[in-house]
Each structure stands twice: as structure tokens, then as C-alpha cells.
């Protein structure tokens, strides 16, 4: 079994294991599980050079970083210098990144080893990793089911033990929902906690980078590394980064946990509801005070999100014009054709749908009815959370209405797909910190996640509660026989 990231780093630092041997074992598994579609490219040579450099550093007696020799996979929307980075899009095939994303820089500065890019919905638009130019990723627990999305490759890779740690990005649930579907821990940091320099943008008022890991400790470790101010991202906060590992084991005695009644309503699968309620009961037994709270504008979150996110996407994706990078249509005879054909041929159906939607809601005559209205709804959604956090420290909720759905089940119906984000979108709209931690299995053996939401920049509280739950209700992880 692949050891967790904290254990790898300890062993590599102490010399019990070499970074190269750890990497070789992980690459063997990743190569053996190509069927999962978790990776879009493995960076074997580059990773080997990085691992050897870590071992050489130790050989010289130098102190190694916090992620010494830890193999990390990053989502295909994070730039890795000198390496093709494509955001799951045909439009970016052949696009070689000219610099490292800030998060990648920070991983490398702590002696991590970048093993590859993981599969994703094109430009992070989707909830199933079916919208990838490389073909879908599959759920390691049930290969006929989706791993969730859009960071489905990262979740599948960690769940199957192909790497101990991965980065994803979350705009409306794209870390938490795949983490829930694949039975791993997924953390969406507060808006502004992690630099997005070098993240291929989808919706800039929402996008955040965060870790997917098998343990809460690993998620805390990874956040400690990637969080913090960056002059290259003006939305990134200068708020000091605490040591998220320090208070991890201090328990939940006296922690005030809110159960939002709007999240435990019609449309929620009974098995998911039962698992969520059982997890909350476990927190209560550990000393947390549980009370019901209300987030009355929850029902407006999906509709306003699917106005704001596509609007921002239509603007962000205007840069893909066939001139400076990416695909250029060979058929174009004029500049107008160059734009229209390059984009028409390069973007997949969901990206086109969202660029169209975004263009529509921003177009003359519709702006006030859609875009301005959605921005106002966002104010109300944010105020709901602010009011709730007056009385509680953490909110506990489902991550998704159901466990992992089947491949193809929702791909013909965009509205059904959009509604699968109903519980993750509100906290994204408010910019809060939230995570998904495994809390049980359905009778059919599919993972269920508990979502914990805390006020902005209260990741420590979130991780502490998740660690308490993890210790009290151990999650089996994928059976060994099914692992690589």
C-alpha cells in the first residue's frame, strides 16, 4: 500500500527510504492502472531527476523540505515548466508551460517530486471528468462510475494509491465532490489562501487550488506548504499561514457544529443523509455541540453560480484566440475566421456551452436580469454564512446529493449535472474554507463524504474537526485487493 505523504517525508528525511525508490514504486502502480484514466501524462524522466536530486541533497547532509521525496500529482490546469499543460483541452495540445505555477514552485521548494498531470474536465468545467479531451477518468471503487469532477483524475489517483498526494482546483466543488466520490480527503481553501499564479483560470472570483490526500494530516501538511502570499497573484492574501499540523489532534470538545437544514432536504439520497447524520453524531459524542442552523438563500446558489462562473469563463477564455498559444485552425483565411475556427475546433461541447452562456448573460439587454442579479444573490448567500458563523464554528453537510453516478448518466443533461454541485457551490460563492472527509460507504460499497465548512481563513478549525472524525470513525479506504 502506498504510504501517506507524511510517512514518506519522514522516511526520506531519516534515510529509511530513498526518494528514488518511493518514486519507482509509485510509477509502477501508475503505469499498471492506465485503465483508470487518472493521469493524462506521467513525467517519469523529470520526476526521476527530481527524486535523485532530493537523495543527493540528503547525501550532502543538507536538511530536506517538508515534502521530502513525496510524489505529488497536479491537475492538468497547473503549469509545470517545460512540460505540456493542457487543462484537459484539445485546444491546448502541444502547449508547453513557460513557467511553474506558484503551487508547483512551493511543492518543489519543499523537495516534493512532481510525477504527472491528472485528468480533468476541460478547463475544469464539469462534475464527472467526462469532459476531457483525453477521455474520461474512472472511479477506482467502481470503474463504471465517474470519479467526480472536475479534479477527478487527482481524486482517482490518490484513492487508487497511484500517489499519496495530489493538487486539484475547486471553483464550485471540483475538489470536494471528487474527493467524496473517491473516498479521499479534499480541501478547498478559503478564497485568497493559495496563490493561483500559473493556474489556468476558469472563474477568477471562485477558483482555488487545494490538496487531495488519503489522510487529514496529509491535507494539512500540503496546505501548510502551498498557502501564503504571492506578489504574482494580487488576490492572494498576506494573512500569515499557521502550522496546520500543530492543532490537528486537539479534538472537538466544545466545538460548535451547525447542521444547515436546507442541505438535509428533498433530493438528498437517504443513504448519504444517514452517513452525514452519523458522522455529526460521532462529532457530538466527541464533545462537539451540535445545533441546527439555516442558510435561507441556499436555493439561489446554483442558479447564480451558473450565471457568474460562465460569465467569468467567457471572459477568461477569450485569451484562447489561436494567436499566442494553443491550437490554430489551419483552415482560417481571415483573422475573424482564425478566432472562430480555432475556438470552434479546439473547445469541447461543455466549454462551448459555458462560454455561450457567459456571453449571453453579459450581452446587452440581459446583463441586469442575469449577471447583476446573480451578484446580488451572492451577497445574500455570503451573508447567510456570516450569520451562521456568529453561532457556530463549523457547518456539517453532505458534499453531493448522491454517491458516484454512472459514466454517461448525466452527460446528456447539463442541468442534472449542474445540480450535482448543489451543496458545494454555496460555500464557494461565499469564499469560505471547506473540505470533504470520507464518512462511510453506501450498501453498494461507494464512498460517501462529509462536507465541513468554516469561515474564511479558519482552515485550522476545519482540519481539526476532520481529524477528530477520521480518528473516531476510521474509513476503510479502497480494499487492498483492488489497489494497484
Amino acid at each position: 500500500m502506498t504510504p501517506c505523504a507524511a510517512a514518506v517525508a519522514r522516511d526520506v528525511r531519516s534515510g529509511r527510504a530513498s526518494a528514488e525508490s518511493v518514486l519507482r514504486a509509485v510509477l509502477r502502480k501508475a503505469r499498471a492502472r492506465k485503465d483508470l484514466g487518472a493521469f493524462v501524462r506521467l513525467l517519469e524522466d523529470q520526476a526521476l531527476a527530481q527524486a535523485r536530486a532530493v537523495d543527493a541533497k540528503r547525501g550532502r547532509g543538507e536538511t530536506l523540505g517538508r515534502l521530502a521525496g513525496v510524489p505529488v500529482a497536479v491537475k492538468d490546469n497547473m503549469l509545470v515548466r517545460g512540460v505540456e499543460t493542457t487543462a484537459g483541452s484539445r485546444l491546448l495540445q502541444g502547449h508547453v508551460a513557460s513557467y511553474d505555477a506558484a503551487a508547483v514552485e512551493r511543492l518543489l521548494a519543499e523537495d516534493a517530486v512532481i510525477i504527472g498531470h491528472t485528468n480533468m474536465d476541460e478547463f475544469a468545467m464539469g462534475s464527472s471528468t467526462e469532459n476531457s479531451a483525453f477521455g474520461p477518468a474512472r472511479n477506482p471503487w467502481a470503474p463504471a462510475r465517474v470519479p467526480g469532477g472536475s479534479s477527478g483524475g487527482s481524486a482517482a489517483a490518490v484513492a487508487a494509491g497511484l500517489c499519496p498526494l495530489a493538487l486539484g482546483s475547486d471553483t464550485g466543488g471540483s475538489i470536494r465532490q471528487p474527493a467524496a466520490f473517491c473516498g479521499v480527503v479534499g480541501l478547498k481553501p478559503s478564497y485568497g489562501r493559495v496563490s493561483r499564479r500559473g493556474l489556468i483560470a476558469f472563474a477568477s472570483s471562485l477558483d482555488q487550488i487545494g490538496p487531495l490526500a488519503r489522510t487529514v494530516e496529509d491535507a494539512a501538511l500540503a496546505l501548510s506548504v502551498i498557502a501564503g502570499a504571492d506578489p504574482g497573484d494580487s488576490t492572494c492574501s498576506a494573512m500569515p499561514v499557521p502550522d496546520y499540523l500543530q492543532d490537528l489532534g486537539t479534538g472537538v470538545k466544545g466545538l460548535r457544529v451547525g447542521l444547515p437544514r436546507e442541505y438535509l432536504a428533498a433530493g438528498l439520497d437517504p443513504e448519504v443523509e444517514a452517513a452525514v447524520r452519523a458522522a455529526v453524531e460521532a462529532l457530538r459524542v466527541l464533545g462537539a455541540e451540535v445545533r441546527e442552523v439555516s442558510l435561507p438563500h441556499t436555493r439561489y446558489a446554483v442558479s447564480s453560480y451558473y450565471i457568474l462562473a460562465p460569465a467569468e469563463a467567457s471572459s477568461n477564455l477569450a485569451r484562447f484566440d489561436g494567436v499566442r498559444y494553443g491550437r490554430r485552425s489551419p483552415a482560417a483565411r481571415s483573422l475573424a475566421e482564425l478566432y472562430e475556427l480555432s475556438r470552434g475546433e479546439g473547445f469541447g461541447p461543455e466549454v462551448k456551452r459555458r462560454v455561450m452562456l457567459g456571453t449571453y448573460v453579459l450581452s446587452a439587454g440581459y446583463y441586469d436580469a442575469y449577471y447583476a442579479k446573480a451578484q446580488r444573490a451572492r451577497t445574500l448567500i455570503k451573508a447567510d454564512f456570516a450569520a451562521a458563523f456568529q453561532g457556530v464554528d463549523v457547518l456539517a453537510a453532505p458534499v453531493a446529493p448522491t454517491a458516484a453516478f454512472a459514466l454517461g448518466e448525466k452527460s446528456a443533461d447539463p442541468v442534472a449535472m449542474y445540480l450535482s454541485d448543489v451543496y458545494t457551490i454555496p460555500s464557494s460563492m461565499a469564499g469560505n474554507a471547506s473540505l470533504s472527509v470520507p464518512c462511510g460507504l453506501t450498501k453498494g460499497g461507494l464512498p460517501i463524504g462529509l462536507q465541513l465548512i468554516a469561515d474564511s481563513f479558519c482552515e485550522g478549525t476545519l482540519l481539526r474537526a476532520a481529524a477528530a472524525l477520521e480518528a473516531a470513525v476510521p474509513f476503510p479506504g479502497l480494499p487492498e485487493a483492488d489497489r494497484a
Binding site: S334, Y418, S456
Partner: protein, 95 residues
């Protein structure tokens, strides 16, 4: 909520997207359902509510406007589908 075929074509043009006839028909069909979802907002009273453009607590993050060289600018140009003499090359704009 329905959207006409002409409207789909207009939006595609604004978005600089060439759509096939099948794609245009598909989006025409699907947009109705999506706009219905969005119409949920019309029931919400926001007369007294200000808009939120960003949830960041930061505003006007300033720094010195100092030029810094990008190492190896030719790497950027090398990403372009076509370039010539240190410039991006595009089809003729003025006939």
C-alpha cells in the same frame, strides 16, 4: 424560457465560436432548461442588496510599476502557432 436559433447564432458570433448546425441545434434545445434554472432568481427580492463582485477582503493591491525582464522571451514566442521576426503572425487584417 426558450431561445431562438437566431439568438444562438448571435451569441456564438459574440463569443467568436464557429458552431456546426448540430451544435447550434443542441444549444438551442439545452439553453431553455438552463435559463429556466437561472430564472429561479427572479423570485428573489434584491432591490436593497448591493452586488458582490469579489469575496476577497483585499482591495487595490498596489506595487511599484517596475519593469522586470522575462527570462528567455523566445520561449513565449515559441508557443505561438505562427511567429516571424519576433512577432506573432496572423492572417492579413486589412485587405
Amino acid at each position: 424560457m426558450a431561445i431562438s436559433a437566431a439568438e444562438v447564432r448571435r451569441v456564438a458570433r459574440l463569443a467568436r465560436l464557429r458552431l456546426s448546425d448540430e451544435e447550434a441545434a443542441l444549444y438551442e434545445r439545452q439553453f431553455g432548461g438552463i435559463l429556466e434554472l437561472m430564472a429561479e432568481l427572479s423570485g428573489l427580492d434584491t432591490a436593497e442588496t448591493p452586488a458582490t463582485a469579489s469575496v476577497s477582503a483585499l482591495s487595490n493591491v498596489m506595487r511599484e510599476d517596475a519593469a522586470r525582464p522575462f527570462p528567455e522571451p523566445e520561449r513565449l514566442l515559441a508557443l505561438a502557432p505562427q511567429s516571424e521576426g519576433g512577432c506573432y503572425k496572423v492572417p492579413r487584417v486589412i485587405a
